[in-house]
């Protein structure tokens, strides 16, 4: 029965059709997003001005950091870093990280960074700031001085580790750096987080720079920077892409303060007193009163913030540099620090870096598609967004 055999073969068309339909559904949104918004053309100067005039006071949304620095052995770095807290700088070197943010003026902000089965939340209600880390249930409570020198920066308490920056922050900083070393242009409009945007493109002139261009997507209506992308030379995809995936300019609701849950370890840092700012002695873990909650909670004596950081912990500030100096300018700046003690082995750097040597000496080079970092055998560290030879040259001169 050849006919029925053909009918039997035809059944395989069903899964094929299903798979085709699914991929169509999955890729259709990306195809349709190729459409560009209909916006009047403006010059780079007009756009920069628009950003400078931007005055968005309240918004809430979700932003995403996607980084792909092309570090060869990043997993070893991650493995070494995994044992730390939920906030790990090395984590941000690869992959996609999402955070939600709510801002209501300079005094009220909250940021929530969900990780895999953990979460870091930061709250700021004007006179207090809290940092909650679900790993270890630790809370750092900052009591802020009444007079704030920089209102814009208040969302980040000075000592709270805050590696993710909001796009507007980063873009404004970058715009300030526009100098004759940079070619500034505006590309075709696009959509970011469903908003029509202009994209400002900053391209360094220097051949030594590893950066091809930096793109800043700006909301065409209110001038709020919504996305920053950094594209390295020789690549089309950005190595760093920080941008909103969702944004809402209405006043966010919800609380901007935080009540430490029972059982958590609270470290209070009173920034109104001068001494506390620097002294670790004043940090005292504050047990939550067991009687306050319905549970019998034991006070967790271990895991003081700061104390848990053993010598093997991969914190970049393991011990401060004796001296730093900056060589070069603008895009090709190289920072050279000497006397930095980095726990190289624990950091997994050995696997990620390659040995190099030259007239300037010898060391190990950590090469990423954006930054190059040179760990010299004499204890110096040089880093910059420049190619390896420019970095070696800077070391030789400096």
């Amino acid at each position: 029965m050849p006919a029925s055999r053909r009918a039997r073969r035809l059944r395989w068309l069903v899964p094929v059709a299903v798979a085709a339909a699914i991929s169509l559904l999955a890729f259709l949104p990306t195809l349709s997003s190729a459409a560009t918004p209909d916006l009047p053309r403006i010059t780079a100067e007009q756009l920069v001005a628009k950003v400078k005039q931007s005055n968005v006071q309240a918004f809430s949304g979700t932003f995403q950091l996607t980084s792909d620095l092309g570090i060869p052995n990043i997993s070893s770095l991650q493995g070494a870093a995994q044992q730390g807290t939920g906030l790990n700088p090395v984590d941000f070197l690869s992959g996609t990280h999402t955070a939600t943010i709510a801002v209501d003026g300079p005094d009220r902000q909250r940021v929530s960074m969900p990780g895999s089965l953990n979460e870091v939340d930061a709250f700021h209600d004007g006179s207090n700031a809290w940092l909650w880390q679900s790993d270890g249930h630790t809370v750092t409570h900052y009591i802020l001085p009444a007079d704030k020198p920089d209102a814009n920066d208040a969302s980040k308490p000075p000592e709270a580790p805050e590696p993710v920056r909001t796009p507007d922050d980063m873009a404004k900083k970058l715009l300030d750096q526009i100098t004759p070393s940079t070619n500034v242009s505006v590309t075709t409009p696009d959509y970011v987080a469903d908003k029509a945007v202009y994209e400002l493109v900053l391209a360094p002139h220097s051949a030594d720079s590893t950066i091809d261009h930096v793109g800043i997507a700006v909301d065409a209506h209110n001038g709020m920077p919504l996305e920053v992308t950094v594209v390295p030379k020789g690549q089309t995809k950005p190595a760093i892409d920080l941008g909103f995936t969702k944004i809402d300019y209405s006043k966010p609701g919800g609380s901007f303060s935080f009540t430490p849950p029972p059982g958590s370890t609270v470290t209070t840092k009173d920034l109104t007193k001068k001494g506390d700012h620097a002294g670790a002695d004043a940090q005292k873990p504050e047990p939550i009163n067991p009687a306050a909650g319905p549970l019998k909670m034991t006070h967790r004596v271990h895991g003081h913030h700061g104390e848990a950081m053993g010598p093997e912990m991969p914190m970049p500030t393991a011990s401060g540099p004796e001296s730093t100096k900056v060589v070069g300018d603008d895009w090709t700046q190289v920072i050279i620090a000497s006397g930095v003690q980095l726990p190289v082995r624990g950091f997994g750097l050995r696997e990620a870096s390659t040995p190099v040597s030259g007239a300037w000496g010898s060391g190990r080079l950590l090469h990423t598609s954006l930054a190059n970092v040179l760990f010299l055998s004499d204890g110096r560290i040089a880093a910059g967004f420049v190619n390896a030879s420019a970095l070696e040259a800077a070391v030789a001169h400096g």
Binding site: M1, S4, R5, R8
Partner: protein, 312 residues
């Protein structure tokens, strides 16, 4: 539905595994109400035919009908009336005999739940397994499993029972019971299609026989028809065997063999009395003359050529 004359009918049914035709263009005709012996040495394609009949495997060519309905399209309507035992029984060893029957009964939408208990009890009693019904099948002997398999085929009244080598692995006592059971079922009006490589089994209980060899259907019909087809022989005891053979040859009898004082030849429609007259008139001293009807075994060997060896 008018009762069809044939319970199973195939035309040009072929199943190939790769290049080899396990079933090679067979035209079966199983009359309703018959006990049909499907005879053939191991590997001759009996089980393969049964699998195709029941829709377990796709035929390469040909068409077939079961209970008058075209298969496999009508499987849903036909299968409730067909009980089957295919290439030995198979059960879930971690379930009891009864639980196994419940599971298989519930696997079809045709089985009434309200009568399930009663039907299972009856089927178990019929195959003599009532005593061990609540034992795990893991603990059953092969013969017990074979009986449970039969019980499964008997969970509802069936118009057609397809039994593939049902006495395989059973003791003589069990074999006899199965034989009686088959006769009972046939007496109740079911058509029984029974495959076997054992001639004696088929000979004892079947009204019809089909003979398979190397995937081909060599012959089918009633037992009497098949025996006749094998050819009746003439046997002559005489003092002059050579002359007798000469005369018989002249009469047109074939396959003459002379062994001492005995002459054998195929009758092929000649009447023994005519032969006798001719021999006597020619002066041959006939001590005895008889027509020998072949056994089914002779027919079987004649047809398959190699008896009961595995063909391939």
């Amino acid at each position: 539905m008018t009762t069809p004359a044939l319970a199973i009918e195939t035309s040009g049914l072929t199943k190939r595994f790769g290049d080899m035709a396990a079933v090679d263009g067979i035209d079966l005709a199983v009359p309703v109400g018959s006990v049909f012996g499907f005879l053939g040495p191991n590997g001759s394609g009996k089980t393969t035919t049964i699998r195709v009949l029941l829709g377990l495997i796709n035929a390469s060519e040909g068409s077939w009908q079961v209970l008058g309905r075209s298969m496999p399209d009508a499987a849903r309507d036909v299968l409730p009336d067909v009980g089957a035992l295919i290439e030995g029984p198979a059960f879930y060893p971690w379930l009891t005999g009864r639980q196994n029957l419940v599971r298989f009964d519930a696997a079809g939408p045709d089985a009434q739940r309200s009568t399930r208990r009663q039907r299972i009890d009856d089927a178990l009693a019929r195959v003599g397994l009532t005593a061990v019904a609540n034992k795990k099948v893991r603990a059953y002997s092969f013969g017990m499993r074979q009986r449970l398999g039969l019980a499964m085929a008997l969970l509802r009244p069936r118009q057609l029972l397809i039994l593939d080598e049902p006495t395989n692995g059973m003791d003589p006592q069990g074999t006899r019971e199965i034989r009686n059971l088959t006769k009972e079922l046939a007496a109740e009006g079911a058509t029984v299609f029974l495959s076997s490589h054992l001639l004696s089994e088929v000979e004892q209980i079947c009204s019809h026989v089909a003979v398979m060899s190397l995937g081909k259907l060599l012959a089918q019909g009633t037992i009497a028809e098949l025996q006749a087809a094998g050819g009746t022989k003439l046997r002559v005891e005489t003092d002059d065997a050579a002359l007798a053979a000469q005369i018989l040859e002249r009469l047109g009898l074939a396959e003459l063999t002379v062994d001492g004082t005995t002459v054998l030849a195929r009758l092929d429609g000649h009447r023994p009395e005519d032969c006798n007259r001719e021999l006597v008139m020619a002066g041959v001293g006939v001590r005895s003359l008889s027509a020998i009807h072949p056994t089914l075994e002779d027919t079987f060997v004649a047809l398959t050529g190699e008896g009961f060896d595995v063909a391939r």
